[in-house]
Every structure is written in structure tokens, then in C-alpha cells.
């Protein structure tokens, strides 16, 4: 039996036929679409390395069965920059050295984008740390990550204000 799944990934519609309903969104991105920026860390929803934005919400793609998300829009780390212009969160991670080995970084960045868009944390470092607690960094780059998210939040809200004005 095969399962048709259509996803819009980083703005591009992808029509797929799954021959197995066990395929997670994470494995689909990595193994079928060659989008390997999204990382497989624990594969059990505990580390956040697989974070993507699904229909506007950050989720763990390792726990989402692809077959259950027919018609969804997915944003991955490959889709956040505009050409050579980095997303403000990417730029802030570089400016604040928010990584060491880099393995958790795509998940951290997608989670930070989701956090900022959710609008619950503002630029309060304590709320940002709480809001980012689903992303583990075994190198311990948390101080830089928090600083990066604080700055990106300010940059992005300033941009939004300009757009509104």
C-alpha cells in the first residue's frame, strides 16, 4: 500500500508517495528530500535537534509521522535565509557565538524563530531560557544562545514595527 503525501517545504510543493506509514517527518526531510540540515539527535523528542516549523509551529519532527501531515507547510533551516542574506536569528547566533560543534544549531535556530514568533518570551532572558528548554546543547553554548535570541528578538520586533509603520 502506498500513501500520497504532499508537503510544501520551504515554499516548494513536494509530492511524495510513501510506501511505509512509519516514516517520520524528520526521516522524510533527510532521506527522501536530502534536506539534511535538520538533525537527528535522540530521535525520541528529547533533544530538539530535529526542530522544524510545521504549519507555523515549532515541533519535534522525529515524533511526527509524515503520513499524518498531508498538506502541511514545513520550514526547515535550509529555508530561512534569503539568498545570501542570513535570517536575523542566524546572524545573531554568529554574532554571539551561540554554538560550538554546531550539531544542535539548526534545531536551536528553528526553535528560536518559533519562540520569537510565538511572542511569549519577549527579550526577557529567563523566559527565553524557559522557552528554549526543549533544545539541548551538549557543548554548553547556552549563554551565547540566550544572548543571540535576545538580540534577534529585538531586531525582528524592530523590523516588524517598521513594516507596520
Amino acid at each position: 500500500m502506498s500513501f500520497p503525501v504532499t508537503l510544501t517545504v520551504n515554499g516548494v510543493e513536494r509530492r511524495l508517495e510513501l510506501d511505509d506509514p512509519r516514516v517520520t517527518l524528520l526521516d522524510l526531510l533527510r532521506e527522501r528530500l536530502d534536506l539534511t540540515g535538520t538533525k537527528k539527535g535522540c530521535d525520541r523528542g528529547q533533544c530538539g535537534a530535529c526542530t522544524v516549523i510545521l504549519d507555523g509551529r515549532r515541533i519535534n519532527s522525529c515524533l511526527a509521522l509524515a503520513v499524518s501531515h498531508d498538506g502541511a507547510h514545513v520550514l526547515t533551516i535550509e529555508g530561512v535565509a534569503q539568498g545570501d542574506t542570513l535570517h536575523p536569528v542566524q546572524a545573531a547566533f554568529i554574532a554571539h557565538d551561540g554554538f560550538q560543534c554546531g550539531f544542535c544549531t539548526p534545531g536551536q535556530i528553528m526553535s528560536a524563530i518559533g519562540l520569537i514568533e510565538e511572542g511569549q518570551a519577549g527579550d526577557d532572558p529567563e523566559r527565553i531560557r524557559e522557552g528554549m528548554s526543549g533544545n539541548l546543547c551538549r557543548c554548553g553554548a547556552y549563554a551565547g544562545i540566550t544572548d543571540a535570541v535576545v538580540e534577534a528578538q529585538r531586531t525582528m520586533s524592530a523590523t516588524s514595527r517598521k513594516q507596520v509603520a
Binding site: 506509514p21 515549532r58 515524533l63 503520513v67 524557559e130
Partner: protein, 351 residues
Amino acid sequence: MNIFEYVRPNTAAEAVSAAAFPGAAYLAAGTNLVDLMKGGVVRPSRLVDINQLPGLDSVAFNGDGSVRIGALVRNADLAHDLVFAKRFPVVAEALLSGASAQLRNAATVGGNILQRTRCAYFADTAAACNKRMPGAGCDAQGGDTRLHAVLGWSESCIATHPSDFCVALTAMDAIVEIQGATGIRQVPLLEFYRLPGDAPERENVLAPAELILAIHLPAEAAAFAAHARYLKIRERTSYAFAVVSAAAALQLSGGRITQARIALGGVALKPWRAKEAEASLAGAAPGADPFGKAATIALAGATPSGDNAFKIALAKRIVARALALAAAGTPARLPALPASPFAVTSGAPHA
């Protein structure tokens, strides 16, 4: 993960009939189920995907002050619903103290109710577990039991229920709306879960194929909104299950408690309502003495199931402190660390 048949019905009635199949399970977000399937802990023969069923993804405020929360409402959406959080702040705080933002964005209300214990022996297919395999025995006993039950446990099972949300719901007299093959029934959450006894594989009153459609909170629950808190001790500051937690809610009139609600998490295989402790507070002025007495009553029947006697003392302190926080008043905005004893805006001194 085992092979399973995947079906996607269009109505609740179709879903119930699709689930009337040996080994079938409902799939919502899958945040707990897919994890358990990856570990081989559960091996459903058929997944009945309920994500597209109509009418289950909204929160409806009724004219009488009650609310119906559809089973597919995401945990984050409920907690951040401003009207809901204002009326039922203890539920919102409990929700936001659970899991991570990514999991709360995906996980559903119905799935939260039905999530499985995090007992490490249940999750380890090499260990004996009466819940996973009836009659196999319980390797938790005599093992690493720090986090196991101190109330309502049996020789068959000493696991705890992991939910924070359900602790607050239990305190607020929530009702579960259930679709079965012959119609819809409603069961108070307080009567929904079963204690392990000698059949820990039966966790609740659902019959095979029954489907949770919604959770209801009665209008009376909103009368506690000004004095309602959730407090949760974790082994790290965030993104951890409760060692012990408590929901506490008060109604005050003329400086006296007219009604109290207390429920505990992390202590038993179900959210633990402490009605005798609640009754002890009727007519009392809020204070350390009545709160301490209520906490002692709440844990009166507690016994260690292993190396976890500390949880009894800890639970008493958490109940007393949650009551003190509730008496101090619900904060206008939830603290940065919801339900944490380390929150700077806790409103009560450290116990």
C-alpha cells in the same frame, strides 16, 4: 517500530468503528505514542489517525461559564488562550510547566489525558512490567524507585501518572466526554483513572475503541481564578516530569476560606485529589498552620514503595506551599518559570 495499518477516518463514528479492531490505537500528535512505538513498548496493529476529525480542535466557552475543550486542541494553544488562562489559571500554569515548547505545540489535550507512565521499567522492554505485559512481574520494585508512587500503589505496580495538566484538571472537577460505539458518555476525570490494583494494564475506564472527544470544565472552576496555583518540583529547572507537584485553589470571603481544592501529581498512578484536606480548610483563615495541617491530611495514607520516603515529606511541603501561593493570589502574568519554586514572582517565601 512495528509495522501497522494506517487508517484515516472522517468522522468520530467512523473512527470508533475503525478502532474496534484488536490492537488498534488512536493517533493524534503521536508525541507519546510514536516515542513508545520506537522503543517497542507499544506495538499497535492499526493506527487510527484522528487529526482530521471535525469539531475537536476548538475551545468553546458556554453561556453558563463552563468550557468545552476539544480533544485535538494543542496544549500550547489552550495555555495561551487568554480567556481560558484568565478563568482557569491553574490549568494554564500546569500546562506550561510540562514538556518543552515543541512538544506543547504538538501534543493534544486528549493525548495528555491518555499519556503513559514514564516509569523506566515500563519503557525498558528488557524489564518485567505488569503494565506492559500482565503477569510478568514488576522490576521497578527493588530497583531505582526514587520517583515512584507513595499513594495508591500496589504490589503489581508502583508507577506514577506523568501529567501536570491532569492534576490541575482533577482539582477543577473536569469531565471527560467520550464517544463509544453506542453514543456519547461523560465521566468525571476523578473517576476516569484506575489505581493499579492487580490489573495495572487497565489504566482508565475507557472501553476498547472509545474515543475522547473533549474535556469540560464546570463554571464553578472559574470561581477559584483569583487564588489558584500549580507548583512542581523537578530534577532540573525546566523540561522535566514532576518529582512531586500540587495544584491548589481557594475561594476566600471575608478573610476566610470558603472552598479549597487540592490535587497532587507525581505521587500515584493517577492525579491525586485530596478532598479530606480540602474540607479541613473550610472556614479557616489562610496561614501556615491550617495549610500544614491540610498537607498532613493529604499525605496521611502515603507509604514509600521503595527508596522514596522523601517524596512524602516533599509532597507535604509542596501542598502547604502551593496553598500559600494560592492564598497570596494568582499573578497577573504567569512567572517566567511556570510552577517553579525558583520563580522570582512566586508571591510566597521559600518553604
